[in-house]
Amino acid sequence: MKPVRLEMDRIIDDRRTRIIVCCGSGGVGKTTAAAAIGLRAAERGRQACVLTVDPARRLAQSMGLTSLDNIPRRVDGVEVADGGSLHAMMLDMKRTFDEIVEAHADPDRAAQILANPFYQSLSSSFAGTQEYMAMEKLGQLRRAEEWDLIVVDTPPSRSALDFLDAPQRLGRFLDGRLIRLLTGPAKAGMSYMKVLNAGLAVMTGALTKVLGTQLLKDAQTFIAALDTMFGGFRERAESTYRLLQAPGTAFLVVATPEPDALREASYFVERLDEERMPLAGLILNRVHTSPAGRLSAARSLAAAETLEMQTQPNGRLVPGSGHSITVAALRMHAERMHLGRRERRLAEHFTSAHPAVPVAEVVAQPEDVHDLEGLRLIGEILSRQDRAPGSRGAGF
């Protein structure tokens, strides 16, 4: 089954596309894809901003990002077409969090929150914060209306869709009974108190036992201090979530032709569908192809063996045999064909399960991308798609 072709340029050129989200499991090339798409968009006239969460150092350098300063910087060396431009920024999650606090609380209270040890730990080092802050920053950039296209990659979360769940989880938590318990019975309301009356003492007792009086007190202080800004926080999280569901957003799932990455990609596709998030397609990255695909793996291997037999007539190993280069080339080719066939099979499994998902393939590059030239090439390959995926030379 051949997949529908993902027309990258159509998505980029469509002015209604305002946000492109690259998601996928770790190590599949999300950041590279996001940067390549941002660059291509800029060079095709879009005012693009790439928001990256955790770029490899050399990739960041390729876009001129040297520090994590939370401000979109103009990328030099971009061949911009009429009106196009490229900005890029790395997320500083602590600073993003600080800014929310400062924006939502009066100065005294803000200072109190920023100084709370609980807050400091939470905002700088705990897993999960990154997802919230990435979404928050995305919302900020979008609302700023300074760019007409924002390309974002998603954090390398433990669960790939943490970034989708984060805003809702936050809302659920803030509406939760625990908060009301922690912030004091006054907030819990009388009817609720009646129901829980018997259990309440046990609960707070248990909480105290587990957390310890001191930690519970710190947490309570922290939550009470944050209380004033919760409403605004949740509202923003929800509006970002709605933004992601809007037609101006395009989700691109990135995967390599590996079982784990494609399994995760399937999971993404299904979740995005459940959440009614607009999926644009799958980028199948690091696909192995062969210019000599007309020579099958089996024939190549057989030929290599034939040659080895010839060079060792007495069954003895002759060093530096005449055809050593050919043997190496044939064995290497057989392996590559084998790998290519396996990748093809995995890609077909994906398409059988998700026949409507458009696919674009990017062939494996001999070296990692670390300059604009490399990013430009990836962008071109992504859009080139002159052959429909799957219609490769014989053999695979």
Binding site: L307, R342, D368
Partner: protein, 345 residues
């Protein structure tokens, strides 16, 4: 023969092997292979998964793992000493670990369930996500510390615990969370718990292995990860070995390799070879194969450079071959054998 006899490996005395690696480098596969290799005659090994992806169940072709220790395989047979010991597996999730913790230390299981309904788990994963990491590392260290079977005999005493840990980018924070929470809590039961966890993680009984492929980004992340671990913990959390996974075999060496990479090999020579093998050079097949060979040679040279960079880190280096087909149990045993032959387990 005493089954608990110490074999001579690079990590004798280590009871908790933490396996990390950049996404896509195959850390789950390597962790599983390591568990098989460590489970020598009579030795019981626990393989722990912490990210809820059920990767272990898939590798061993068993149903999804619950929050309980299940036997999933028999270890690699010791050299001439018969069958290997048992490999158990456990998928730890923060909620299960919290209930476990409440029961184990406070006998509060029912209260724990009520707390879950109240949103305590949301508290753990939303506002204090560090608590989730603490609970997970807590469970792993608890398994590594066990010395006697408990009252009802259900948990096991393990010779070694292998943890399929979060990726390299998160490993420092993940392992250091106990110290951080300990600093945050100052006193109280959480602090006591965090201290116990930190004590195991920061002892010579725990090492962190880094899985990488011979590509630029994973190698860089490995080196960064080792440095971060050192910075974050002042050397208290020990790096173990570097395990190079999916190394592609080099088809050429020395002068031929260099010539292939620079494109100075003779295409006609290849065409002659093809002819000798009974393959006609139709439509420039020899030239196409030469292009492919050149790419291969450049990749091999890149791999060699990356390997040298890894060597400079001064950690023991192990290398596992590329398995082209999807990894099954046979493939895992093959990798386990390679780890053992190189002294990693």
């Amino acid at each position: 023969m005493n089954p608990w006899r110490t074999r001579d490996t690079d990590w004798d005395g280590v009871r908790l092997h933490v396996v990390t690696g950049k996404g896509g480098t195959g850390k789950t596969t390597v962790a599983a292979a390591m568990a098989l290799a460590l489970a020598a005659a009579g030795r019981k090994v626990l393989l722990i998964e912490v990210e809820g992806r059920q990767g272990i169940a898939r590798l061993f072709d068993v149903p999804p793992l619950p929050y309980s220790e299940r036997k999933v395989a028999i270890g690699l047979g010791a050299d001439g000493a018969g069958q290997g010991g048992d490999v158990y597996a456990l998928a730890v999730d923060p909620e299960g670990a919290l209930l476990d913790y409440l029961e184990m230390f406070y006998n509060l299981r029912r209260t724990g369930k009520a707390l879950t309904r109240l949103g305590v788990m949301d508290f753990a994963t939303t506002i204090a996500p560090g608590l989730a990491d603490l609970l997970v590392t807590g469970k792993a260290t608890e398994a590594a510390r066990r010395r006697v079977d408990s009252r009802d005999g259900s948990p096991h005493v393990y010779h070694t615990v292998v943890m399929d840990a979060p990726p390299t980018g998160r490993i420092g924070r993940f392992l250091n969370v106990s110290t951080e929470v300990s600093g945050l809590a100052k006193v109280g039961p959480i602090k006591t718990h965090a201290d116990t966890v930190a004590k195991v993680i920061r002892s010579p009984q725990t090492v962190v292995h880094f899985v990488t492929t011979l590509e630029e980004m994973p190698v860089q992340e490995t080196l960064d990860g080792i440095a971060e671990l050192r910075e974050l913990t002042g050397g208290a959390i020990r790096p173990g070995g570097i395990i190079v996974n999916m190394a592609r075999p080099a088809m050429l060496e020395g002068a031929e390799l260099a010539a292939a990479a620079s494109g100075s090999l003779d295409v006609t020579e290849l065409a002659v070879g093809l002819k000798a093998a009974g393959i006609g050079d139709n439509h420039g097949l020899a030239a196409d194969l030469m292009t492919e060979l050149r790419e291969h040679a450049r990749q091999v040279l890149l791999q060699n450079r990356e390997r040298d960079e890894l060597r400079a880190a001064g950690r023991p280096l192990y290398e596992l071959p590329m398995i082209t087909d999807e990894i099954d149990l046979a493939g895992l045993y093959q990798l386990a054998g390679a780890l053992r032959r190189q002294g990693a387990a």
